[in-house]
């Protein structure tokens, strides 16, 4: 077997492994909070009113935008509110959410069975059904899956990202152990939908049980399952493609430009549910882990279930907690547990509060640039980010930083480097916008100046021209003058003669 690896990255042990691979089914909660968008996409439009009764699986928000997805009721009950709730985001941004209060029955909509095999449907039809099932990238990015497949039409290779991305998150591992048949079938659906000839399922080499479960169900010659090292950032899409095929996607380009479609293994399972079982995306597996819970576990919960209820099932200690949604590396610290499981949330860390080590000066030791998977020089970026010299930082390729935090982890001075980099990026964006405004204003002003000057000049020229013309006309018509003089003389003569006669 070929050995796959990539430059940079770090081997991080899983701090709190889940002891059993069981996926605990969580009963439908009393209330769910469902956001109308995941992150950067367009918001979907509510399709229900407050007070309306909904069934599990019923569409409650629709969209006509390409970069947005449908939303379904994850429990049956009554719509009790449509209002803003915070989503896990460093800025504490709030997003419109639909709240459903359960009627306790979990009554489903009637599910139509498709009598035909998915092979008989056109890719367009499959993509349409994926869209109507409300599927988004479940690895964390939340990009609408139908849009991603559409962008990758004509792809030659499909990659299934089963790497789990970060130590600590174990939901995909559990998913593969529990639904291997569904996943393989889901890959077949995806192959048909995107038109690729071959699929590669990339799995980290520490997940042997999951690997064997998948191998047992894989009888498709077009699907390969390969092991890659359990090294952090292996799950980042571009790094994964480089690891597997040695294709380096240029900065600013996408996998689809290279004929590659990458999908998370959780998304594949959701696609299976949507196409084969005709069920929309209303639940997912999440990991609850961290130093403050007695038993790290995986739960399959309805979308919109509150995290607090899941954490309560994992025996947390009563001490104050440090809570982080997402992985220990790229996750987001949140102030409390008042967040719900969204389509993209794969994990919650509940940690005991530990003092962070004091930050020391950067001595440019270069540990950071040895682990950077993008091969940046974080020590140089830090220097320029700190002094807000964004232009110089961009010369050092600030824009290519994927904010994986490898450099933060190895920094002996405990500098939160990635924070500086995201700050510098935001600062650059702000400055660019300001600069554009300044440029527009300056251009407008300069044009006004130019216009005023031009008008003045044109006017002056026109006047001069007219004057000259008039003069010329006068000169030309010297005869007129004589005629007038003659006329005047005539009149004078007449008057004179009248006077003489009259006297």
């Amino acid at each position: 077997m070929a050995s796959y690896s990539f430059k940079g990255g770090i081997y991080l042990p899983n701090p709190y492994p889940v002891k059993d691979s069981e996926v605990r089914q969580v009963a439908p909660p009393k209330r769910v909070i469902l956001p109308l968008k995941q992150r950067f996409e367009d918001e979907a439009q509510p399709y229900v009113k407050i007070g309306e009764k909904v069934l599990t699986g019923q569409i409650i928000a629709k969209t006509i935008s390409k970069h947005s997805s449908y939303l379904h009721a994850s429990i049956s009950g009554v719509i009790s509110a449509i209002k803003k709730y915070p989503i896990p985001h460093p800025s504490g941004i709030e997003v419109m959410c639909i709240v459903i209060d359960s009627d306790g029955k979990d009554e489903w909509i009637e599910i139509q069975r498709y009598n035909q095999d998915f092979q008989h449907y056109s890719p367009e039809k499959l993509i349409q059904r994926i869209r109507e099932a409300g599927i988004v990238g479940m690895g964390g990015a939340g990009f609408p899956t139908h849009a991603k497949i559409n962008n990758a039409q004509g792809a030659h290779t499909l990659i299934i990202n089963a790497t789990e991305c970060e130590p600590g998150i174990m939901c995909d591992d559990a998913l593969m152990q529990h639904y291997p048949r569904e996943i393989i079938r889901g890959v077949e659906v995806l192959l048909h939908a995107c038109g690729a000839k071959q699929a590669v399922i990339a799995i980290e080499d520490d997940k042997q049980e999951a690997l064997h479960s998948l191998l047992m169900y894989n009888f498709n010659d077009h699907i390969d399952i390969v092991q890659i090292p359990t090294k952090y950032t292996s799950g980042a899409e571009k790094i994964l493609i480089k690891t597997l095929f040695d294709i380096e996607i240029s900065s600013g380009k996408f996998a689809s430009d290279y004929g590659v479609l990458c999908q998370n293994v959780g998304t594949v399972k959701a696609i299976y549910d949507a196409i084969i079982d005709n069920k929309p995306l209303i639940s997912r597996i999440v990991t609850i882990t961290g130093s403050a819970v007695q038993e790290p576990r995986n739960y399959e919960a309805r979308i919109g279930t509150s995290f607090a209820s899941l954490v309560a099932k994992s025996y947390p200690n009563p001490a104050p907690h440090q809570i982080r949604i997402g992985g220990m590396m790229m996750g987001i610290d949140v102030a409390n547990m008042h967040y719900a499981v969204y389509k993209t949330t794969n994990c919650m860390f509940v940690n005991n509060v530990v003092p962070t080590p004091a930050v020391q000066s950067c001595i440019r030791c270069g540990q950071c640039n040895q682990v950077c998977p993008i091969n940046l020089l974080p020590q140089q970026l830090f220097w320029y980010a700190k002094s807000k010299n964004t232009n110089r930082a961009l010369d050092y390729n600030l824009g290519d930083c994927i904010e994986c935090r490898c450099c933060d982890v190895v920094c002996p001075s405990h500098i939160p480097l990635t924070q500086y980099f995201s700050f510098a990026k935001a600062l650059h964006r702000k400055r660019t916008i300001e600069q554009q405004k300044i440029d527009t204003a300056r251009e407008r002003f300069e044009f006004k100046e130019f216009r005023v000057k031009r008008n003045k000049k044109e006017r002056a020229e026109m006047m001069a021209r007219k004057k000259a013309q008039l003069k010329q006309e006068m000169a030309q018509d010297a005869s007129k003058k004589t005629k007038i003089a003659q006329a005047i003389a005539r009149v004078k003569n007449k008057r004179d003669s009248k006077d003489e006669n009259g006297v």
Partner: protein, 314 residues
């Protein structure tokens, strides 16, 4: 890659431990003066650093415990003659810490290697005491006497081998007529070499700078000797005399002031090695490590900018 360090202080401590062999060899050759100079330098370094931090109204403890001031003190003490009067080291350490480091904003912000800046300042300002070396092992009482009583004991003093060679060559002698070998200096260099290998093994320093530096010395010395073996020292003497190994592993590798890109480190180290041989062979001073380091420090931001590694996808 495995993570080795918890903190910057730990890195500094490891560097100080790695110096022990070289210090031992220096002690064996020059005697107690070496130890007294180091103790004096460390005390002064901590005092100056602490007072300056107090003036700048910065927290004192974290900066003192990071060990950088102590390291600067030790490196400077190792560079100056062991029988130099006490004020030499006091002035030098003050200059190194204040002008070399704190005025630039403290650790991490200084463009020049503080210890070498201090050394260069001393060498230019006080050439006589800075070139009067102990000719034999000096015992404790002699050392205290000569350092604190300001009694230059002529019997103790001598020149280093590089010094001697320089003078003799200037007097018109040929290399073949001179004693260009010094077992003591060789042992001191071996001590620092072993300490350097320890740092490499612990991955506290990277191989690029020392290897490129020694290559720079070796290649340029080889070419000069091949061209004129009567006026230039052979390669092995350049490698084993003076502060070559101390420079290669402990001074050139100061991460704050060195180039930081992989390719840049090679260029930085190599050119520094070449400069050392050039200064030793053609300059007015016997050893050229300090000037080579300071000259190369100036080129760092230029080297770094033009040797950025290829970024993923570019």
């Amino acid at each position: 890659m495995k993570m080795v360090f918890d903190s910057t202080s730990q890195i500094m401590r490891q560097v100080i431990y790695a110096l022990v062999l070289g210090i031992g060899a220096s002690y064996a050759h020059f005697g107690w003066g070496v130890i007294i100079q180091i103790i004096l330098a460390v005390l002064v370094a901590i005092t100056v650093e602490a007072s300056f931090l107090a003036i700048r109204k910065l927290p004192i403890k974290p900066s003192i415990t990071d060990g950088s001031a102590v390291l600067t003190g030790i490196l400077l003490a190792l560079s100056i003659p062991s029988i130099a009067p006490w004020w030499i080291v006091v002035v030098g350490v003050n200059f190194a810490i204040i002008f070399g480091k704190q005025l630039y904003g403290g650790l991490g912000n200084n463009p020049f290697n503080p210890a070498m800046l201090g050394y260069a300042f001393l060498l230019i300002s006080y050439p006589l005491p800075m070139t009067t070396w102990a000719g034999e092992f000096v015992n404790l009482t002699q050392a205290l006497d000569v350092i604190f009583n300001l009694n230059p004991v002529d019997a103790l003093s001598g020149a280093t081998r590089l010094d001697d060679v320089k003078i003799q060559l200037a007097l018109g002698k040929m290399v073949s007529e001179l004693n260009i070998y010094s077992s003591a200096q060789m042992w001191i260099n071996i001590g620092f070499l072993l300490g350097g290998l320890y740092l490499l093994a612990r991955r506290i320093i990277l191989w690029h700078i020392p290897v490129a530096f020694l290559l720079g010395i070796a290649i340029s010395a080889f070419l000069l000797f091949a061209g004129d073996s009567e006026h230039y020292l052979p390669m092995q003497n350049h490698l084993m005399l003076g502060a070559t190994m101390l420079g290669a592993f402990f001074i050139a590798t100061d991460p704050v002031t060195a180039s930081t890109t992989p390719k840049g480190r090679l260029i930085y180290g190599f050119l520094m090695g070449v400069l050392v041989v050039v200064i030793r062979s053609f300059g007015a001073y016997p050893d050229g490590i300090a000037f080579a380091v300071l000259l190369m420090n100036m080129t760092v931001s230029l080297i770094d900018y033009y040797t950025q590694p290829k970024v993923f996808g570019k």
